[in-house]
């Protein structure tokens, strides 16, 4: 008797797992669309796997799947996680953490880094104001996390307009809030036409009375079978007053891609140390040392050359020269490139950050007089597009390096020896 009920239970649980059934909406549209989270309509899918097997028609491409789940236990209890497996690689997106991307995996080769933070931390455990404004670090372990939107840089006091309309001061916290705000809406789209691009869209609101009213609409997408992913973001000021924004794509690489002898390759127009430690090897910041006990982080501020369409390309190549990651983006959208080298021990968080941004990671009060803070008018939207590619062929890597060489086009790299005042 018990056995048969147990069987019933399993079927019931299985049925639960595929219920609520994801419905493809907008049948006339270009994509199959599935809503995973929508706070306005109250939709929220706890667990669900959707895969190419669910499609009889054209979308049944090379063995892709998308899995939505909820993590349990410790600081990750209640975190929504979405894993997109495209047939050639898998990556994990965290709606609960502002649609950050936890990591990418290609045939057991993990792109990401070993942070001292091991769990996917629910933001309820992160007090951004703690430790003098660097509480953000208590949840930081993603491969790609956005810094922003109201502010994106170092902690410290800056001005804002308070609820009486007066200029007041507030503590800006490290790298802003958007990486610790949950998405209000998440939807999955599968293009009906080849190559059946898989798109995961998330909407994150950084909005309040007497504060910013910013909406981030982010899309991370990939083509089945490729080792490329594209982030297409829009930031909209839905308030009626002009609003400063900052956005830095804090993309982090540790072992195994990063190791002694790895190289950063980019068409560098100028480079300047951000901190004193970085002055040491300002003449050759392009190479990486082995994990080093007592290493003090070094940060470099760069301007990059781009093509006629303002497109540029940067590359992180492993020491063997047979693995690389590239980022292709637009320097009009993201004029400031920051290279972060934190070549400490593995235990302490050996990592390098490749960080295209609207700004450098100084406090907003520093960035403002340099004109490095975009201001969005009411209803204005700004777009940011970055394409990441993961390579494991020397030929492919060499082609990328050749492309970067052409972008440099024998033009000089200005090296400023000292940090800005």
């Amino acid at each position: 008797m018990r056995r048969s009920l147990s069987t019933v239970l399993r079927v019931v649980i299985f049925t639960c797992a595929i219920w609520p059934v994801l419905r493809a909406e907008d049948l006339e549209a270009d994509s199959h669309r599935f809503v995973l989270i929508d706070t306005q309509s109250g939709q929220w899918v706890r667990e669900k796997t959707l895969s190419s097997k669910n499609f009889d028609g054209i979308a049944k491409a090379s063995g892709w799947s998308v899995r939505k789940e909820v993590l349990h236990g410790g600081k990750q209890n209640g975190v929504d996680l979405i894993t997109i497996e495209n047939g050639a690689m898998a990556f994990r997106v965290i709606p609960t953490r502002g649609m950050s991307i936890l990591d990418v995996e290609i045939n057991d080769f993990r792109i990401g880094w070993e942070s001292p933070v091991k769990e996917v931390v629910h933001p309820q455990w992160v007090n951004l104001e703690s430790r003098g404004g660097i509480g953000w670090l208590e949840g930081f372990n993603e491969w790609m996390v956005r810094c922003g939107l109201e502010f994106a840089g170092h902690p410290g006091v800056d001005q804002f307009t308070d609820n009486t309309g007066a200029e007041a001061e507030m503590m800006l916290t490290l790298h802003g809030k958007v990486g610790n705000i949950p998405a209000s809406r998440v939807e999955l789209l599968i293009d009906k036409a080849p190559p059946h691009r898989i798109r995961l869209r998330g909407t994150v609101h950084e909005s309040m009375l007497f504060g910013p009213k910013l909406k981030l609409t982010t899309e991370v997408s990939t083509i089945p079978g490729s080792t490329e992913l594209t982030i297409s973001d829009e930031v909209t000021n839905i308030g009626s007053d002009p609003q400063e924004i900052q956005l830095i794509y804090h993309t982090n690489f540790g072992v195994p891609l990063l190791s002694e002898g790895a190289n950063f390759i980019a068409p560098v127009q100028s480079v300047q140390p951000m901190n004193a430690a970085a002055t040491e090897d300002i003449d050759a910041p392009w190479t990486y040392a082995a994990p080093t006990k007592g290493y003090i982080e070094k940060v470099y501020l760069m301007k990059l050359y781009a093509d006629a369409n303002s497109e540029t390309l940067v590359c992180l190549k492993n020491s063997e020269g047979n693995r690389a990651a590239t980022i292709r983006y637009n320097v009009d959208q993201l004029p400031c490139f920051t290279l972060w080298k934190n070549l400490t021990t593995i235990e302490n968080g050996y990592v390098t950050g490749l960080e295209p941004g609207t700004s450098y990671p100084f406090n907003r009060s520093v960035e403002r007089p340099h004109g490095r803070i975009p201001v969005l008018a009411a209803d204005e939207t700004r777009q940011f597009t970055l394409t990441y590619e993961f390579m494991n062929s020397t030929q492919q890597i060499n082609e990328s390096i050749e492309e970067i060489r052409k972008l440099q086009n024998d033009r000089p790299t200005e090296i400023l020896q000292d940090p800005p005042e």
Copy 2:
């Protein structure tokens, strides 16, 4: 096979939905009583609808229902929400946010406001200390939210007694904590005798070692078929030392009730601007402008006339004069009335606040020397009762205005031109 199990599943889920069965307790009492949340006994009803259909006897009045649910996704994940539909209007109470009332709806006419905050924000996302102490605003979108209990006004440093018994300083945060504390007990009562008043009671504790030990027992009630709701609150000092308390009923109205030409009507004994912006139209603060870009909030501090029982009445009337909301309350309980005009654009949060309080919304350190902070002795309880009525007949509105005129009784309104020092 699968189909029949699916049917089983639906029945099981349906059965789950009405289980745990709400039991009417205290059968000899005046009310049917249903416990929805009780942390002491561990009771917590996830989802449940109770309606007049469940009653065969006298309580089967005009088509009322009460629905308890849990919200999902984004910042509202895990928020308990209770919707009371009384046959003539519906209102939504948020146990997770100190029993605040999200909004009221009467035949598709919504009483509330359009905050830039769109979700019902779980307090885990609100750091009251952020932005220099105005983090409260990151969750603020209710029609009625209590400010209090230990402090209720503007942020800023004030004194308190620390854990060594010494006078220390602490940062008071905007509007206090009670609106971001979840209720520890929530129960629904249906009066057995006509008119079968529906009562939702919640208990909220603001209590800690070396801090306040205050208990808020709140009741919001309504009579089936009416467009009136009554808030009956008790604040008790369950500690053994005298304890200051502050309580402001921050009741907020936006479109459609508020628009250009709407009017505030009250028996005003005195009015004074709270901030510089409010001095501009201190001679006629009673009227409302259209949404105005760049509008700086204006705040007015009032004393109101009352009748022999200390009862007073205020009214917010729409521009057409065919819709209004009134608040009837006791000026001995709530001697300070604050009118908040934030006539900015719709996007930025066009709203007016009618705010009966024990105090004005200055920092507690400002209110104290003016004697505007009640002190509760050990075990002392103070009561606060407010009745809100929503009108859509010109005649009914005119009767209210006439009542207010009689309260004024041709007595003068003292207009102070400048804010307090």
Copy 3:
């Protein structure tokens, strides 16, 4: 029809309750092992009771049980709680609150205290930085809570190394963070060999980039049928730089064990008041007064005599002399003993704390120059073992007192009259 489905439902729910089945792992090991929470593998048992009835063999000792549950409602919503009933006593461990022990119960005699905080507070409600750094108190109601690991004492500014490697300042908050960090892994072990000790192990990480990388592995264990429990903790520095640690076992007793005439008995080498109020009865801090209105907490700093193995013993005896609790521990591990007397009214939190620690509860900046902050080298582990015994026989109590007398061995107690400067 409905009835039978309801029956199905109950069976389904029952089956759910024992599913996921706890599997005894490591069959060759010394213990039956059951994983309750493990964030790495994604395991998390919502509700489960395991008892001696589940064992046919040798572990079927005297009627013990272990129950894992999740609390609901108010500030305790989502809190994991584990109750261990060993046949002679029961105690409740809170994985969500750093493996603190809520209370102990022996035949309806509760060891613990009546805090103004009544719920088992989920740390999401605790802002450690609030009230000038004493937000910790908003969740404080446990019988035994660890203070630590990076810092454990009073709030206030101290130095730390920031993300640029520079010496910066940060606000240390009262009693540190570990009591408000959830365990990442919890497992239950039942020894296969007599006396079949029941062990609950939890791992708590206080770890971040540019911050501490500390791992607390805690075990609380008890022998079926005994009234003794043992805490065996290990703190490991998993970072590669030396790391300061602090740990205080804040063990708290209120009524009924504590009342007028209760006594603290210990082999005291020296005692000094920590605060001004404590100077009053510095000559006889060993006795307790009745709950006293307006009582200011008194804190005493002690050094204790120990035996040749550095083991010491302290005792709290009730006024009748027929109930007592003792703590046996090692003064090399925990050289600082703090006695906290907060003999205020019951409502305000009548309690005494017996607090063996690596340090006294001054701010870390005060403890450091006195050499009272252990520094762990990379990979270094330090152990802390404390055995608590609960007695209800005069003879047993007298034997403990006699043992303490022998530890004192007629040696003097140095009484310092004034607090340290």
